[in-house]
Symmetry: C2
Subunit: 347 residues, 2 copies
């Protein structure tokens, strides 16, 4: 690897001169165009290697009007990002799928208003080719901003049944059903449900699954057995206290998240209810906490890593589609991945 005489980094032009070809040809080789003869390609590749040529991203971005970067936007403060295994799993999947691409991943937190302001600015400057949106609430204005700026985006967890953005989700409805069916099969009849945040579509779908699993098995749904939570541990404690007071005869609890189940478990123990003998418990997420609970928690596993991979997949397709023609096919793409019930001793 030789240093270019100019002292700086070698340019396309210099590579072309060295290989004895034109600028256009080098560009074609760099970008893997098939319209180059093998001999020429080899010569150019040799010159690239000799000079240690690396394309200037800024120049490319300017000329081609693309950035080769995508953003993973997390509308939460850093703290939650690190605390919840959801994000790290998602990141793993995203990273894996991106690793044999030229695309660069940016991680952007938009927890505070300040940060959201900056994000809006960032998107307006079109500094990324596409956006991955995770954990978005029903009333979040971000998706609309993205649509207005015409930036390709994929959302994890649609905001509603009418979601217009491309989305990847796990089967919340089916996951909830399997949890309830499992409890029914174990002979439980008074199954309570501590829900997630009601403004999250996925939480609604879990409630639907809970209801219909009971109905389809020929049981009436007792609304008293449904208590709203918010995915947190504290919410689980609160809801469980409420439920015990209202329905002391319950014999099972299906919680919308593992941490919620952990909160519920504390209250149950303090009330002298044994798990699973007196009250069976099923959580959601199959996070690390599920394995470490006492007793280990039965939980609905979502294929989060796989979701990350699919999101990238869809996003890259959308970016590619948008490039040459305006292929406004506009078929709504919604991917739903299956969940799996992981049975442990809490049920």
């Amino acid at each position: 690897m030789v240093r270019s005489r100019s002292g700086g980094r070698p340019t396309l032009e210099e590579v072309a001169a060295r290989a004895g070809v034109g600028r256009g040809t080098v560009s074609r080789v760099i970008n893997g165009s098939p319209r180059v003869s093998d001999a020429t390609r080899a010569a150019v590749e040799a010159a690239v290697a000799e000079l240690g040529y690396v394309p200037n991203t800024a120049a490319r971005a300017l000329a081609a009007n693309r950035t080769d970067a995508i953003a993973l936007v997390v509308p939460e403060p850093e703290t939650r990002f690190f605390a919840e295994p959801y994000f790290s799993d998602m990141l793993k999947g995203v990273g894996a799928e991106l690793s044999d691409t030229e695309m660069q991943l940016l991680l952007i937190f938009a927890g505070s208003d300040r940060e959201r302001q900056r994000l809006a600015q960032y998107l307006a400057a079109h500094r990324v080719d596409g956006v991955l949106l995770v954990s978005v609430h029903a009333d979040d204005p971000l998706p609309d901003l993205l649509a207005q700026l015409e930036i390709p985006a994929v959302i994890s967890g649609p905001r509603s049944a009418q979601e217009t953005l491309t989305s990847v989700d796990s089967d919340n409805y089916g996951g909830a059903r399997s949890a309830v069916e499992h409890l029914l099969a174990r002979g439980r009849r008074r199954i309570a449900h501590i829900t997630g945040r009601l403004d999250v579509y996925g939480a609604q779908r879990r409630i639907d699954g809970y209801r219909e699993a009971l109905r389809d098995a020929g049981h009436a749904v007792d609304e008293d057995l449904i208590e709203p939570g918010d995915f947190t541990e504290e919410g689980g404690r609160r809801a469980m206290t409420e439920l015990l007071a209202r329905c002391p005869d319950l014999d099972a609890v299906f919680a919308a998240s593992d941490v919620t189940a952990a909160g519920a478990r504390q209250v149950l123990r303090e009330a002298g209810r044994r798990t699973p003998e007196d009250v069976a418990l099923v959580g959601y997420d199959d996070s690390a906490i599920a394995r470490h609970m006492e007793p280990p928690l039965t939980s609905v596993r979502q294929p989060i890593e796989e979701m990350g991979r699919r999101m990238i997949d869809l996003l890259l397709t959308e970016i590619a589609d948008r490039r040459p023609a305006v292929s406004r096919g506009l078929e709504r793409r919604q991917v739903v991945l299956a969940t799996e019930l992981v049975e442990r001793t809490s049920s």
Copy 2:
């Protein structure tokens, strides 16, 4: 905010036309140059607002040869990044210091060889103005690569006393001293030390602090009481087992990390030694685990968030310095921040 007639995003030129000034003047206003009259500045700012102008980063990067981005390079797999509070605290400090800057932060993992390859490519392309390096081992080639590419960099934790890169560190020597002095003050006399990874400079400094605190207090250093660990829990168990076998009369343990202390604690309990009655225990990091241990662990707190802030500070200075002149002052900048002993009931 009006859309530019061309359909795309407005350019500097269009803003200039609208404000009735030249391109250069708009550029000056955008970049906050003082050499613009108030009236002109106001006119330009109005035009910017009306058109909703946002500078094109790629064009700027190309023309000015800078990217306005810096990378936080983590030479570990994602998993460790999420597991250790060290990183999230660091990120918090970094983010805070960067928040009133135009600089963009990129998070880059370089755990696998594959990822390192990509990183090298990335740096060679000069896609960032500077690099923050955390948790680097003594034999890591990354710092040299950075030096060779002449990319400003700041390292957290120097690799050795001869570190050439600008560095920010906490006072490992002083932290260790304070831990040992605390144990001495509590009347302990047979104080063992489970070290960190020996190829980490900070771990060496802690050993130095341990030794000199004993010596300065007039005690001989018994080398049998020093057992190498590796910062992990498993390492703590192993080392503690070793120590108990070799020196059954020890009455205190200073561990180089909280997780190591947790490992040691398990072994001590299994051996029937009470903490703190029989064996006092002090950890390092003051991480969440310290607060949640049974009994709560006395630990040396490092101001990690502050370290993150200082690192950014130094890096931005270095980037700014490099821009116009080649101010090879080359005074080695090494910042060392004080630690604090957080006393709990384990000692």
